[in-house]
């Protein structure tokens, strides 16, 4: 479904990604772990086409995305949903308008059907009766869940989650994990999840890939990652300050 080949990205002199190779099959959930600032968010922004690669190719459904025209790119984006790290809700729109934003552009739904779908999407993330609130009236966790409702509302085939459980209490975070698993089982959604939360990673992942110094240094099932011989992986998954990773 998604294939990343030799992806290189630099910002000025900072070489963020130095040849990332990653494949995500249809209906699979791949969790990308790594230190803060290791380029995880940059990676998923490239998958979404928000950033252009300096070198390398990204294929979605067998099509290389970097050379697509505007129209083809619009149709490609319709297949994606994205939960942003800080939720990225539109400040000037209500919760209902935020969640219905993609529905208005990607579907032919009537306004009644949009309202209904917005309610259903909000209910899926455990939110009710907040349709008319503005983003500044929500807590950080609620914003995140509204952002998730917005990402799943129009039924995308691929969902990219940038730290879905950050800023949410453990019970809600586990409910989000269950939602990600349900989306995969019921709707065969393909997911790429970025997280530091290893409990969540072990629960939702089919495969885990660790990004370190611009490359994927280890990739495998949750069990394989737990049993990895790589000291860097072991230090990271156990959250130890002492070890081969010395730069925090």
């Amino acid at each position: 479904m998604i294939k990343i080949v030799d992806l290189h990205v630099s910002f000025g002199n900072n070489r963020v990604l130095r040849g990332v190779n990653l494949t995500v099959d249809k209906g699979e959930t791949v969790v990308v772990i790594g230190q803060s600032g290791s380029g995880k968010s940059v990676l998923i922004k490239h998958i979404m086409g928000l950033l252009k690669p300096e070198k390398g190719e990204i294929y979605v459904g067998g099509v290389e995305i970097c050379c697509l025209g505007e129209e083809a790119f619009f149709h490609l984006r319709r297949r994606f949903g994205m939960l942003f790290q800080g939720a990225a809700l539109f400040d000037s729109l209500t919760v209902e308008q935020n969640v219905g934003f993609g529905l208005e552009r990607y579907t032919e739904f009537s306004s009644g059907k949009i309202k209904e779908t917005v309610k259903e999407s909000l209910a899926m993330v455990g939110l009710r009766g907040i349709e008319n609130l503005m983003p500044h009236e929500l807590s950080g966790g609620m914003k995140k869940r509204v952002g998730l409702a917005r990402a799943i509302a129009y039924g995308p085939e691929i969902i990219l989650y940038d730290e879905p459980s950050t800023g949410i209490d453990p019970i809600r975070a586990d409910a989000i994990n269950d939602l990600i698993i349900r989306m995969k089982k019921d709707l065969e959604v393909t997911s790429v999840v970025i997280t530091h939360d290893m409990v969540s990673a072990y629960k939702i992942a089919d495969r885990i890939a660790m990004l370190y110094e611009g490359r994927i240094i280890e990739e495998g099932t949750p069990q394989e990652i737990k049993n990895s011989k790589n000291e860097i992986v072991q230090q990271f998954i156990h959250g130890k300050a002492q070890g081969p990773i010395t730069e925090w």
Binding site: F90, D91, R105
Partner: protein
Amino acid sequence: MLLGKTLRNFFRKPWEAKIFLQQLEEIGVRSLPVVSLTAAFGGLVFGLQTYVGFHRYIGPGSEAYGGPIISLGLTKELIPILVGLMVTGRVGSSMAAEIGTMKITEQVDALFSLGADPNRYLVVPRTMASLIMLPCLTLYGDVIGVAGGFLYNIVMGVNRFVYWRNTLLYLELWDIFSGLIKAVIFGVVIAIIGCWQGLKAEGGAEGVGRATTRTVVIASISILILNFFLSRMLPATLGG
């Protein structure tokens, strides 16, 4: 590049009608108080200096010949510039701050991911509203400014009938129209610079602050420089 893309998108659907109407109100209606004040005092001071000039150099009784000069100076130069600078400070900076905040909080990326082209959603409605409202504000400012100049001269005892007769005799419709052409161009300049600076903002609140300051500086200087070249390029009269 941003200007070219924006102008191309003017004619492409979907149009963001709701945002366009909001921007018409923001740029036009909400700028009325500040434009009223600056145009009124601009007209008054222009009236004052012209009165003094005629009184001192031509002689008492010649002040009524200042009417066309006041109206010409205001409609062709002073009002378009004053309106441009006021809207730059009030609206251009707020465009940069709003879009800059959206950029650093990933809202611009979110627009893109949800099927809305940030150029069509953010830049086109603002540019379109700005190019429509700047000439409207300028025309409104012309009326207030010319009235201000007239009022000062009347208070100073100038013959109102001679003043108006001279003004109507020598002021051409083209003088007003050329000021409006400048205003259209200033409108595009303000919106494009505000949106451009907002879209390239980075580095948190400090970056938004920088974008806002740069917008005011770049747009103000551009307006002053463009005004000179437009005055050179546009014909002084269509009367032959």
